[in-house]
Symmetry: C2
Subunit: 363 residues, 2 copies
């Protein structure tokens, strides 16, 4: 179905689409430029449903666009894709910067592609991230995975206001599923609100850890460990093997102290080395075991519908709040009020009231 990856906004790499094979083969960049006319929702949907990953990539760009006209078409595309969505296994992957998230995703993804899975990776554009990853830049990331025929890699900026990126990730999942991807890996950065959002759109939430404490773990938010359905301790290689194995035991003990999960599943830890490609199958087997477990006891479906309910309210809330926060006058005033509150000049109550009064006058 999918023949070549089309792995980001820059449209690197060749793209051969099913259904257009009989067209004369041209420079894909030129082809892309030609396609830059406005497509209809139906054209996007038709392309997505036949697994055209160029079209899928463009539809994701549309979904991520902030232009009101784009948003109208995007919403139509999403709604028409929805009946074809929902059939993948969605896996969230998070970890501290330096835990080797992209190397791990590449190793796991390559393994999954070799197993014949159709894999979509919703990755974080490292140039948007203030971490070690960004020094390496875009090009070094997931080179091996990106040549896999069954893989679609989509980096998106991690910067997100008020649920922004999260909501778009969720919509991107819908598009990928409609395009026939059966396994979706969603990378998050380990800080801020994005984890709660990611947790609310995946079936399995994997925490990638490395041995060590203190500075090495700086950059991950507290609370994430208790969200995890499983832990993979990466960099279990070379002189680090013993420490990684000891860490696995420590995590096992720690996980047993947590309150039981809603699913009844007991999270555990595996060691792996993304660089040496060891332990990757074991991590995947943990995920598969969970999925079987959750499907059998009905939690898998229950969680999906609970997530749908959560997203109904999240969508409403962000619409209601956007009207306020996206107003330029309010934005300026909010910054001023925030500064006053941080300097103890006024109370949060009064600052909020002043902002709400200003907003009511504008309406």
């Amino acid at each position: 179905m999918m023949q070549h990856p089309e792995n980001d906004k820059a449209y690197k790499g060749l793209t051969v689409n099913e259904g257009v094979e009989n067209l004369p083969q041209v420079n894909p960049y030129a082809k892309f430029r030609r396609q830059k006319r406005v497509l209809s929702a139906e054209e996007y949907v038709e392309g997505i449903l036949r697994g055209d990953i160029t079209m899928l990539g463009q539809a994701v760009t549309l979904v991520e666009s902030n232009l009101p006209s784009d948003q109208v078409v995007a919403q139509q595309v999403i709604e028409q894709c929805l009946p074809h969505a929902g059939k993948s296994v969605r896996i969230g992957i998070t970890g501290v910067p330096g835990a080797g998230k992209s190397t791990f995703i590449e190793a796991l993804g390559t393994e999954l592609c070799q197993q014949g899975k159709h894999l979509a990776v919703l990755a974080i554009d490292p140039s948007s991230e203030r971490s070690k990853g960004s020094i390496l830049g875009d090009k070094t990331r997931m080179n091996e995975l990106s040549v896999q025929a069954n893989a679609f890699i989509r980096p998106s900026p991690s910067a997100g206001s008020l649920g922004g990126v999260a909501r778009k990730t969720r919509e991107t999942i819908v598009l990928c599923e409609a395009a026939g991807f059966d396994t979706i890996l969603i990378e998050t950065v380990g800080v801020g609100q994005s984890e709660t959002a990611a947790h609310s759109m995946v079936d399995f939430f994997l925490l990638l850890q490395v041995t060590g404490t203190g500075d090495e773990l700086q950059g991950i938010k507290r609370g994430i460990m208790e969200m995890a359905d499983g832990i993979a301790i990466n960099k279990c290689d070379g002189s680090n093997i013993e420490r990684a194995q000891a860490a696995r035991v420590s995590f096992k003990n720690a996980l047993a102290l947590f309150p039981p999960t809603e699913s009844g599943w007991q999270p555990y830890a595996e060691t792996c080395s993304a660089v040496e490609k060891t332990g990757i199958k074991e991590v995947w087997s943990m995920i598969e075991k969970y999925i079987r477990f959750a499907r059998e006891n009905g939690y898998f479906d229950r969680k999906r519908t609970q997530q749908a309910k959560y997203w109904m309210y999240e969508t409403i809330n962000s619409h209601l709040l956007n009207g306020f926060y996206q107003n330029p006058e309010i934005e300026a005033l909010a910054q001023l009020m925030e500064k006053k509150v941080l300097n103890n000049e006024i109370s949060s109550f009064i600052a909020a009231t002043e902002l709400l009064n200003a907003y009511n006058k504008l309406k």
Copy 2:
């Protein structure tokens, strides 16, 4: 300053107020009934500032009232109390049902009163809680603490819509501080949104644990352990001592695996027995150690201003969302849509859009 506790809505117990000693002593119930006329914000504030705990109790009732007319006066009271607030140490206490939260709060509170502290306890009304506590009922709770001259105990319903109770708790803190209380214990139930909210209004967040796993820990939300600044393992008594001490070591090890706290503080665990009143001083000493630590490195004040910023936005958000969710027509439609989403009849996107469209038509 405060002479007798006035410990809940039912106005049990005698109340002797400073400044009214020369009045003939009457049945406090009759006195309360007489006072049931509408007071002005200035009258409330004047009463609160001179430490009149009957007045404080009534002001809290006013703050908790949903009547628009009450809310107007309540807001004035809060604003006038604000310049006198902020000087207490605020401690959040959470734990599973059955961990002995109220017995622990009573033991800790009695200890603090004996140390000469002016203590306010914002407790959860057990009749509002579906837990073991509710079987025992109101009367058995905190009898010892409630006879302490320096204690103000205020039970409030735990049921909370959209940030409701949380916001009121925060406002109640302001009133208590203005009334001269220097130490405030805030009880939460260990589930749902209330913990995040509680965490955002306290200086120290204590998790009350008991030994055992599985069923005993059911009823606490995952993620709370990582929020804690310290853990107290209660019921370290009788045949349970060894297990509790072993649990302390396990928690110590687990806490060391968590990412570092923002404050730089390393949370740890103490054992105690609220029933036998052992280890209570050690738990308090942990809290005092933290407060000293956080004051010295500047985190205490930084967290307070960050919380003020958080509450500025929370106040705005709940105002913006209340207009939607408190609309009866929307409420009915939301229930219908939620049901459809849970039954997979429509998507969360479409449900949200229909609700927003209905709301826009109503406006």
